[in-house]
Each structure stands twice: as C-alpha cells, then as structure tokens.
C-alpha cells in the first residue's frame, strides 16, 4: 500500500529526452516552470501546454504514469481551483449572498488548474527520465560554484543520493513493521486523527532504530570502499552536452519566444 508512489520514480528508456544531459534537463525544467507562470493569456498558456505535452510524448513513457503523479496532488489542484473562482474582478456572472463569481475568477481558476497540472507533469519528465544518480551528479555540478562560499556541495549531493536510494528500502521496512504490529493486534484504521497518529508510534520507533542500524552498516560499507569525502574522486559517467541538448535548447527557446510574443501582442487574461 505505501509502495505505489510514482512521484519521483525513474523509468529507464532510450528516448530523446532520456539522452539529454541531466544538467540541461534541470535548467530547462526551471525555465519551463517560469514560463508556465509567465503566460498571461490562453494562447500563450496553450502554447506552453502543447509544448510540454510534446515533451511528454517524446519521453515514450506511458501517459498513465503522468496521470498517476497528478492523482497524488489532485486534491491540491481542485482545492486551489475552487478557491480561485471566488477571487477575481471583472464582469459579475453570478451573485448569491456574499458569494460572487466573476469572469476574472473563472479565468483564474482555469489558469491555476492548468498551470499546476502542467507543472507537475513536466517535473515528472525530469524524474521519470533521469536516473537518481545522474540527477544528483547534475545538481552537484550545477551547485559547484557555491563551494566558493564553503558550502559542501559534494556532501549535499551524496546525502541526496543516499536518501533517494533508501526511500524504497524504508518503504519496504515500514510495510514490514506495520504488518508485524498488525499481527500483534495494532489498529491503524480506526479512531480519529489523533488516535491514528498515536497508533503509528509503534511503527515509527522500530523504523527509527532500524534506520540507525542501516546508517551504521552503510557507513562501514562506504569506508570499506575507500570513501573519503569526495577528495580526488573521479566519476565513471562523464557528463557532456550533445546534439540532443542543442536540439532541446533550440526547441525550448522557440517556445519561450512564442510565449513572450503572445503575451506582448494579445491582451492578458490573468495578472
């Protein structure tokens, strides 16, 4: 039950998007997110949405996985969508008591829903097509300039690698402990919120203990393999920008230019 989490799961493949350098994927993702929120009318929003869907198609990963990642935050999307209907100005469409629904509010709601949905799906592209180790390597490389300020970039990247590696291990462990406690008569499904949270204590404590044991083992294993904190460390996989990255950059720049032009020449619907 705890195990079917798709958010942030890598799916190996050979698509064009898989071949992009992780660094360019991260930078382009940030740019896409910025432009999703910069698009101010339906035409620019449509352009960035279609471009994102094209990228999603290019990953050659079944669309249902993207929908699954949407499902996780479905509540957030619906909630912010509904909330936005009541905020806004412009022509009043409906009025009842203190509730007023305006044209601006409807527009706001539609924008917010599409923006969050596209944001989540395009972010999934990064995590679906990039192996965790590539991802952390890329973050390490991108953050390298920060080491000037004595920020331990390698340590941060190593912590992220290990965290990502052990998420499934701990999920499995949690499952096991929960089953073991259930077998002893623990009840996780009934009672109010506080009772349920309290019922989780017998799960959290063994999990905590086993994570310490695990950390101890892992530290020994890393020491055995001569880990000394990233000094003189080389990498098996050398990152380099390829033709695919150039293509991706060109495509994205065209989309971004389109968004800016559409914003400039057509009236803004939302602020």
């Amino acid at each position: 039950m705890v195990r079917d989490v798709t958010l942030g799961q890598f799916m190996p493949g050979h698509s064009l998007i898989h071949k992009l350098d992780a660094r360019s994927k991260i930078l382009l993702l940030i740019a896409y997110i910025v432009f999703i929120f910069l698009s101010e009318n339906y035409f620019s929003l449509a352009l960035i949405t279609v471009a994102s869907l094209a990228v999603i198609l290019l990953t050659k990963i079944n669309f249902k996985f993207y929908l699954k990642s949407l499902k996780v935050i479905l509540f957030v999307i619906v909630f912010t969508g509904i909330l936005n209907i009541f905020y806004g100005s412009g022509t009043v469409l409906y009025e009842w008591g203190f509730i007023t629904i305006t044209e601006g509010g409807i527009n706001n709601a539609i924008f917010v829903i599409i923006r969050i949905a596209v944001l989540v799906m395009i972010s999934s592209v990064l995590t679906f097509t990039t192996s965790p180790s590539d991802l952390t390597d890329a973050i390490e490389k991108l953050l390298k300039p920060l080491s000037v300020f004595h920020i331990k970039v390698h340590e941060i990247a190593m912590m992220m690698t290990i965290a990502l590696r052990f998420i499934p291990v701990f999920l499995e462990e949690t499952d096991k402990i929960m089953n073991a406690q259930k077998a002893r008569g623990a009840d996780f499904e009934s009672g109010n919120v506080f009772q349920r949270i309290k019922a989780l204590i017998p799960v959290l404590i063994p999990l905590f203990v086993s994570s310490f044991r695990c950390a101890n083992d892992l530290a020994t294993a890393m020491e055995c393999r001569c880990y000394n904190g990233g000094n003189n460390r080389t990498r098996m996989k050398v990152m380099k920008f390829s033709l695919a990255d150039l293509f991706g950059l060109m495509f994205s720049l065209l989309v971004f230019a389109g968004v800016i032009l559409l914003n400039l020449y057509l009236p803004a619907v939302v602020r």
């Binding site: 083992d217 393999r225 080389t234 996989k237």
Partner: protein, 283 residues
C-alpha cells in the same frame, strides 16, 4: 607459502574507558595466518567474535592489543589505510545496507570512483566485475528490484571492481533464501578458484565451511580448532561440546558409527555420505 594476512596475538574489546576493563574481551588472543589464494572459513556461534575478527582485516576495527598485518602493512598505520582497504575488501551481511547508489553499475563503480581511477578504466572494471558475478545483464537495474542473492552479488562486484587481493565476507548468506545462498557461495568459489582471490568467509552454515581449504573454529573470542574441513569435522565430540553444528551428512554418519556401523570417520557432503552408505548396503 607467503603469509598475506598475519593476526598476531590480538585482543579486542569494545569501548576504551577504564571502567569497562572488567568487561570480557570479544577477541581473546587470536593468532592466525592467511596465505595468498587461500579459501578460509571462520565459523562459530553468535558472539564468538567471528564478525569482530572480520572487521580487523581491513582496519574497520583496530586491535586493543596485538597487531594485524596485511601484506606486511600494520592495520594501525593511518597513512596506509587506503592501501589496506584496496587490498582487502569487506562484504557485509545485509545486502540492502551496503549498496550506495540507485543503479547497479553506479554502485559497483563507487569504490573505483573513490580511488580516483580514470572514467574509462572504471567502466572496464565495472563490466568485468559484473561479468565475474554473473550480474552483467542487470547493470542498468535499480537494486531494490533484485533478489537478496542478486543484491549480495552486486555488493561483491562492488568490492572486486577495486581489484582487491583478498575478500572478507561477513556472513554474506545469513539473510538469504537457499537459492540466494547457493548463488553467492558459487560466486565466491569461482572468484577464489578462477581469479585466485584470497577468500575469508565468515559463516555459521557448516555446509559452506566444508567448501573451504581451511576451517577456523571460534568460540568466545578464541580459536578452538583449526584445520582442513576433514580434520575439523572429524572432531564431532569437541564441536558438540561447544554446541556447534556439523554438516547434516557428517552428523548422520557420526550417529551411525555410534551404533556400530563400519563407516569412514569423516564425511563432509551428501555425495560422500551416499557413497559410504552404498558401500555398507552392498555388503
């Protein structure tokens, strides 16, 4: 033959405070020599000190008194710590807790990356190591999708990619199912026989110890018995006194001999057992 590892009069206890001076030594005067290319099995009960001893071979633990030498280097020599760990690799019991990276090949590369080897050579070594343990086709997989035996073989590959001269395996099969155990043990045998890597196998399965060139039996921090599997497992009474198991086949023949049947004194595996029984039945 040259001694590759020398354990000289090693005593060890956890903690260094004066108050704990009353505490029992976990290792209580161990002397042991291991030759190059040898396959040594160390067996004993829980708490016999066998795992503690394993961690002395590549200076994860340092002796409280006494010395351990690896290829002539004292494990207390801080300057040469990485030389020692390059020569002697250690594989731990829990396969999950010793895999660092989220992809098999990245994990195998981890040790080599720490040694600062050139990228192209790392790739070559990683592929060779994965071939050697029979996990090459899984190189792009993520470890959590593998079985316990496969994970343990990946962990072994991570060590042999560093091209050590000796591998120490600390109960590598304790958490595995019978099939996984078989996979790991035949991999270890292959590394020893074909690549000539010295193997020290810590185990509590006597069936695994039988495969070694030499068996070292530990009990409460002392070596109580040492010799070829035939020599060690012929001392059934002594082993029983220390509440240690013998392989099932050995046990069966021992019991039958006790009933007065004319059988060979030591039998180590099923085949020998079947042969011996056939001899009797034919008469």
């Amino acid at each position: 033959m040259k001694n590759f590892i020398e354990v000289r009069n090693v005593f060890f206890k956890y903690g260094e405070s004066e108050e704990s001076s009353e505490e029992k030594y976990v290792l209580d005067g161990i002397n042991l020599n291991i030759h190059k290319g040898e396959f040594v099995a160390a067996v004993g009960h829980n708490g016999s000190g066998k795992s503690t001893l394993a961690k002395h071979f590549n200076s994860i633990y340092l002796p409280t008194t006494g010395d351990v030498y690896v290829d002539g280097i004292n494990t207390k020599d801080d300057e040469r710590l990485f030389d020692i760990r390059k020569k002697v690799g250690l594989v731990l019991q829990n396969p999950d807790n010793q895999i660092v990276a989220g992809i098999v090949e990245d994990d195998v590369a981890f040790g080599c990356e720490n040694l600062g080897i050139a990228p192209r050579e790392i790739r070559e070594r990683v592929y060779n190591a994965l071939e050697a343990v029979g996990m090459y086709e899984y190189r792009k997989h993520s470890p959590e999708k593998l079985s316990g035996g496969q994970k343990q073989r990946v962990a072994i590959a991570g060590i042999i990619a560093m091209e050590p001269e000796c591998i120490v395996l600390d109960e590598p099969t304790a958490m595995l199912d019978p099939q996984g155990r078989q996979e790991v043990i035949s991999t270890v045998m292959k590394l020893n026989r074909e690549l000539g890597i010295t193997v020290i196998l810590i185990t509590h399965y006597m069936e695994e110890a039988v495969l070694a060139d030499r068996v070292v039996m530990l009990n409460s921090g002392k070596i109580i018995l040492e010799g070829t599997p035939k020599e060690v497992f012929s001392q059934v009474e002594l082993l029983k006194k220390h509440r240690l198991d013998v392989p099932q086949a050995t046990e069966l023949i021992y019991q039958l001999r006790g009933c007065g049947y004319d059988l060979p004194p030591t039998v180590l595996n099923e085949e020998e057992c079947v042969d011996a029984l056939m001899q009797i039945l034919k008469k």
